[in-house]
Subunit: 233 residues, 2 copies
């Protein structure tokens, strides 16, 4: 017997939403493992992050494919169209967060070749904050909670400020002890990656707001000053 399945637009949308949640969970797990790998100087854990990132890449590619099919075949308008556009963008944002976590894991492998550095503690605190904001914005997106989304959007300034402070801490440390320059350069990039994850989290805030309100959240997100001039890449 041949099966003939016709699913409704809402069913398809629910599936996409469920996949975004799954991807969010994977990205969170990658970030958490990457930071643990830094903390424990655990090369095996770092390799696990690097390997598991493939799955997120594939899920993003599949979601993109399906979302574009939905756009082409269902011709959604208004809030349905916004849902799909947001899903497409959040998916690729999660894929990029996974890439950044993977990059942190890769740098761990070089960090393990040298002595433990005291600034690692600051990096891990910054990591903790980034994880918190990322978890909150995933909740906000899933539950369509705009006030929670706006709160994350505003609080990203704290990540920026921690980044600026770590930048200064690292350069000071390098000046005091030139032997740690090469390792500290790796930590500089780890901090930068976390700061970018924070930026991506604010983008998910913006997408949450866009889905619910049908308009942009605005351009005036608070940013850490004055080194913050460098955060937007």
């Amino acid at each position: 017997m041949k099966e003939h399945i016709v699913s409704s637009f809402d069913e398809e949308l629910q599936k996409i939403t469920a996949r975004i949640s799954e991807m969010g969970g994977l990205a969170e797990e990658e970030l958490s493992m990457a930071l643990e790998a830094v903390r424990l100087r655990d090369g095996a854990l770092a390799r696990k992050v690097i390997e598991s990132d493939d799955r997120l890449d594939m899920m993003d590619a599949r979601l993109e494919h399906d979302a574009i099919q939905m756009l082409a075949l269902r011709q959604p308008v208004a809030s349905d169209l916004r849902e799909i556009v947001a899903a497409l963008k959040v998916s690729s944002t999660l894929e990029r967060i996974g890439d950044l976590a993977k990059n942190i894991a890769k740098r761990t492998q070089v960090l393990n070749e040298g002595q433990p550095l005291r600034v690692t503690g600051s990096i891990l605190r910054m990591g903790k904050l980034t994880q918190t904001l990322f978890a909150e914005v995933l909740d906000a997106y899933t539950s369509r909670n705009t006030s929670m989304a706006v709160s994350v959007w505003k609080r990203d300034v704290e990540v920026d400020e921690m980044y600026n402070s770590i930048f200064r801490e690292l350069t000071t440390y390098m000046m005091e002890d030139p032997r740690v320059i090469s390792l500290c350069s790796q930590l500089l990039f780890v901090a930068k990656n976390l700061e970018r994850i924070g930026d991506h989290a604010t983008f998910i805030s913006e997408m949450t707001y866009y889905v619910v309100e049908g308009e942009q959240l605005g351009d005036d997100r608070p940013k850490g000053d004055p080194l913050a001039a460098f955060i937007e890449d």
Copy 2:
């Protein structure tokens, strides 16, 4: 009199293609100005880059909007669908290249506060190579020239190798003269930004190949070793 315009799919596609070319030109110009700002220590030119990047952001947003409308209303299939998907992705890639050029320009402003550094010469050579590959891949995309696209895709390894060499040069320089650590950290990010522009150029190669051949270019792009482990973020 009310005007009623019904344009064909091909006409709409041509307009989108023309806009991608214009965006490519803008991104090239931004990169060129940003590198000139580094070379000449020209803060006014750097500000010009920062201001002009808004235009690229707006063009990307508009193109995305129009491409999604086309997907929803025209229901394209096969090569028409690939054309639109590629345009969407190339547009957002160009927007990101503009962001990276803007970030280079922003760092110029900090670099100008300190003494000129000798490693700037290496950065500018890396910038030149990045510009060349970016210009070639834009040509390849516009003319649907897959062999040119594949050539850029392969040659990005040269950018990666220059990045690795600059990374070593910068850390050595910082060890020799701790007073330049803060400035060299800025140059480290400038080099990293150029390396990421090279990666984005290879993505445009992949999109060119995808539009023409209908399949992916593959996963085995040559990469500079062993620091290349850090290039993929």
